[in-house]
Amino acid sequence: MVTAVTGQDAGTQATGVREAAVWRALRTVPDPEIPVVDIVELGIVRSVIVDDAGVAVTLTPTFAACPALRVIQDDVAAAVAALGEEVRVTTSLHPPWSSDDMSDEAREKLRRFGIAPSDRHGGLIQIALDAPVRCPRCEHPDTTVRNAFGSTLCREIRTCRSCGETFERFKPI
């Protein structure tokens, strides 16, 4: 059956199609510091607004001083512009990013990459900081903090007491 599509419905549909295309494009933008995860599953895309003026994407940094944010903004602009869209990329600190915003898929990818993800803490960060962390290599829970600061602002360095592996953990925040 063929249904008549009114002008307004067609516009809404077209916007929906464009928005889905934008989200697909954003899934191709990796976190430059952890290239195995994309920015959507990392949870730093706060909003996508598609209208007649073009596309507005709002990002939030994992850490306020994250030096990768500039790179990500440029990558997002390029990925969306490749769809033939006018694009504006802005950043916002609110609501602040939390490690809870990372998808389960992203956590698994991190673990396979050798970085221990943080369990979801629901805001109880002080408790999460001292909770046991499993070694991403041997899965043993007896690991200890070697350095609260790592190769990037969002990671700490830990050592596994069981297998001796030194690894990084994505900080609970």
Binding site: A65, P67, I157
Partner: protein, 259 residues
């Protein structure tokens, strides 16, 4: 009630002064921390100090961004082209990095102050400030844990580490009141709910710090009573020396579009 509407008149001027003072504190402390890069006593601490510096300077950018939203100022112009006496940073952060004990003690004092400040600033009626405070407070948690652990290590390490920590305390403690001192426009800001009362932040900071020091068996010298302390006084020569390094590249070619 919160607002993201820009205040006007004397309230605007007072808020710009306060936000600038805090941004300047973060920038100058971040620069001092960065001076340890390649020189820290342990590889882990070299990495830690580079992280702390990056955080503090990144936070400074955030606060200068808040100021930019208030008066349209350009953060790069503020950082690279103001003279020392136009800076509003505290004397504590300007002091040279000193030894490891001084660096950690100073960092702890500032972290303790910032923890108390941000907890209250998160309730500011000026929304951009409240939002920045909420974000930055989460990150400062890592700083405070780090510096407080170092105070423990130094206090219970060796006779030398303890002696150095005591020397650091004697040098830094007299500068604490100036960090906590009020600024001229504070009364208006506090009345508008935009900035927490300095006396409240100050006493919470002193309580927190005194608690930590007492637990380590250290005695903070009594703070001079009745002495009038102000943020707005001439900057120490150490800040000028720091800025001559920080600003040298930008000032070598002020018209440069990129370095």
């Amino acid at each position: 009630m919160t607002t993201d509407a820009t205040p006007t008149g004397s309230l605007l001027a007072a808020l710009v002064e306060r936000v600038t003072a805090h941004a300047d504190d973060e920038l100058v402390l971040g620069h001092r921390d960065a001076e340890w890069t390649g020189h820290a006593p342990l590889l882990e601490e070299d990495i830690a100090l580079a992280n702390l510096a990056q955080d503090e300077i990144g936070h400074a950018i955030t606060w200068y961004g808040v100021r930019s939203g208030l008066d349209g100022s350009d953060p790069d112009r503020l950082v690279y082209f103001r003279g020392a006496d136009e800076y509003r940073s505290s004397h504590l952060v300007a002091l040279p990095r000193g030894d490891w004990a001084f660096t950690m003690l100073r960092q702890y004092l500032f972290d303790a102050y910032e923890t108390e400040l941000l907890a209250r600033l998160a309730r500011s009626s000026y929304q951009p400030l409240a939002q920045a405070a909420v974000k930055i407070a989460r990150e400062e948690l890592f700083h405070l844990r780090h510096s407080q652990l170092w105070l423990e290590r130094l206090a219970y390490g060796t006779d030398e580490s303890r002696a150095r920590l005591e020397d650091a305390l004697a040098a830094a403690w007299p500068l604490l009141p100036q960090l906590l001192a009020p600024m001229p426009g504070d009364a208006e800001l506090v009345a508008a709910g935009m900035w927490p009362a300095p006396v409240e932040v100050g006493s919470a900071t002193v309580d927190r710090v005194t608690g930590t020091l007492t637990a380590l068996g250290l005695r903070a010298p009594p703070l001079a009573d009745g002495q009038v302390v102000e943020r707005h006084v001439r900057q120490p020569p150490e800040l000028g020396e720091l800025l001559s390094v920080l600003q040298s590249v930008a000032r070598a070619d002020p018209e440069a579009q990129a370095w």
